[in-house]
């Protein structure tokens, strides 16, 4: 069945029609970038997850984190549960890996802020 999605490549927000039964044919796009976005968003939608994790030994009690690349949208809930269970010990540095290949994806969960201990 043809699905309608909003293109997010640029602010124009084209309403794309993507047909999974016809090799993910994209219509409604104003530029070629819409085609690749439309195909990818239907074949394998992915998102970068950003959140916080608990941290001990610092003035702050939460540390911002992200997946260092996009993960399948379907794994978002599962990854959030892992994120919620982590507790870091200060100090941490931006880029420190907290969980490698989180939920069997290609992405690592990494620290996004330098936090010193107190």
């Amino acid at each position: 069945m043809v699905q309608e999605i909003i293109c997010i490549v640029c602010p124009r927000g084209c309403h794309l029609k993507v047909d999974p039964e016809n090799d993910y044919e994209v219509t409604g796009n104003a530029c070629p970038r819409g085609i690749s976005y439309g195909k990818a968003e239907l074949k394998n939608p992915t998102r970068v997850i950003t959140s916080t994790v608990k941290i001990k030994g610092a003035e702050l009690t939460r540390c911002p984190v992200k997946t260092d690349q996009a993960v399948p949208k379907t794994k978002m809930r599962e990854i959030m549960q892992l994120i919620n269970s982590v507790t870091l010990e200060a100090p941490v540095k931006t880029g420190d890996i907290i969980i490698e290949r989180i939920s069997d994806t290609e992405a690592n969960l990494v620290v996004c802020r330098d936090i010193t201990n107190c």
Partner: protein
């Protein structure tokens, strides 16, 4: 009163604008620079903006807020820029030669500093429920989106379980996703305008991903709940923004997040006698971000509200450079330069800068502006002088109020205009 210390440049605010301005001023040769920051950390609002999407223009990569500010904080640590954290700027006074700044902290006390130049980089604050006069009770559970963001992301507290969001600005959309991922239920996002206030990307990834409905041309018209929010009434609005009777929908929620606009924080500027533009709520500035008060520059959200931090950084860099130039040459602008005022037609909300001193323009001046309605079809941005002759025109395939636009006006074109006014308009 005793002057405690003297600087070449003081920057008020250590958020993205202040950081970039300080770096740029240092790179342009100033050695005595102070950043005054009221928070305990540098980085400003970026510290609580833990989502990604920052830096695509400037760094050509996607960073989270803290990562974006870290790039500048790291560079700053290699300079001798002084930073006063947990320090409040209370009062700014202007004179011919010096700018006087009263600052205060618990560890350094009350101090009066003076500086050759000052850059205003105080950012903005959120419009509140009271600013837009939503009637109802004054129960707990009504938060500005940014305030909720601080509680959730920095302090680690949840502000509610069942949430409705008023306003589709980016902060509100981002918080819809954050609250959902943290286990709350977001029942709807309601927007009074007929178009969304935030980026498409956020509509898709923060609302659609979680099946949160977006109601355009709707608003909250009543709040119930004596002590904590219990129910809100949502109504459709007509073309004039007036609620339409009979369209009431009721949501039983404990929390309302408001993302209904930002206001540049110019209390210090106002007291210092810096003339403000009612359209931006920020200072009126020249081509180099100098305000009409000599030696005082402005950049970032205190000047006008930006949607992308990348543009804040660029603007701040040019302000830093101009301030450095001002300090080094006692004002690098020829006093007798012809000044052109930029006017707007009804389709354009404002411009920054508002005034251009032609002699100060090297090759071209970049003019930022916002349109006031959606242009889905190709249109032209046209500059006309007082004789209505077209001076310059720029094509755009589409334009949205949520997106700040900019064009480069070459100096050459400015030199030939009649009169001292240029009007910018949109012609379809």
């Amino acid at each position: 009163m005793q002057i405690i210390k003297e600087y070449q440049l003081i920057i008020i605010g250590g958020g993205p604008a202040g950081l970039a301005a300080a770096l740029s001023a240092a790179q342009n040769g100033l050695s005595d620079i102070l950043i005054v920051e009221r928070d305990k950390y540098l980085g400003g609002i970026l510290n609580q903006c833990i989502h990604n999407g920052f830096g695509l223009h400037y760094f050509k990569e996607e960073l989270t807020g803290p990562e974006y500010s870290k790039r500048f904080i790291d560079l700053l640590s290699e300079t001798n820029v002084e930073v006063a954290l947990d320090t409040m700027a209370l009062n700014l006074e202007n004179s011919e030669e010096w700018r006087y700044l009263h600052v205060m902290s618990s560890f350094e006390g009350y101090r009066i500093l003076r500086s050759k130049a000052v850059i205003l980089a105080m950012g903005c604050r959120e419009r509140t429920r009271m600013n837009i006069q939503i009637p109802g009770t004054r129960a707990a559970g009504i938060f500005n989106a940014g305030q909720a963001q601080l509680y959730v992301n920095l302090e680690g507290y949840m502000v509610g379980k069942k949430v409705i969001i008023l306003g589709s600005g980016d902060v509100g959309l981002i918080m819809a996703r954050r609250m959902t991922l943290e286990g709350a239920e977001v029942v709807a996002c309601v927007e009074v305008m007929p178009y969304p206030g935030g980026l498409n990307r956020n509509i898709v990834q923060c609302l659609q991903d979680f099946n949160i409905p977006l109601y355009l041309s709707h608003t909250i018209t009543d709040i119930k709940g004596r002590n904590r929010v219990e129910q809100v009434t949502v109504q459709e609005v007509d073309q004039n923004g007036k609620p339409i009777a009979g369209t009431e929908k009721y949501y039983n929620v404990d929390t309302i997040l408001l993302s209904v606009g930002l206001i540049p924080e110019n209390e210090l500027s106002r007291e210092a006698g810096v003339p403000l533009d009612p359209r931006t709520s920020g200072p009126i500035v020249y081509e180099n971000k100098e305000t009409l008060a000599q030696g005082i520059f402005a950049c970032g959200n205190v000047l006008h509200v930006h949607d992308l931090v990348d543009f804040v950084t660029e603007e701040a860099e040019s302000a830093g450079q101009a301030a450095a130039c001002f300090v080094q040459s006692g004002g690098c602008v020829k006093q007798d330069s012809k000044i052109i005022s930029l006017k707007t037609d009804s389709n354009i909300g404002y411009t920054v800068p508002q005034q251009i001193r032609i002699d100060d323009v090297e090759k071209a001046v970049r003019v930022f502006f916002r349109v006031r309605k959606i242009f889905r079809e190709p249109s032209r941005i046209v500059f006309r002088d007082q004789l209505k002759s077209e001076i310059a025109s720029f094509k755009r395939p589409f334009m949205f109020p949520a997106e700040m636009e900019n064009v480069n006006l070459p100096r050459q074109l400015l030199e030939n205009i009649s009169g001292t006014e240029l009007t910018i308009s949109v012609e379809e």
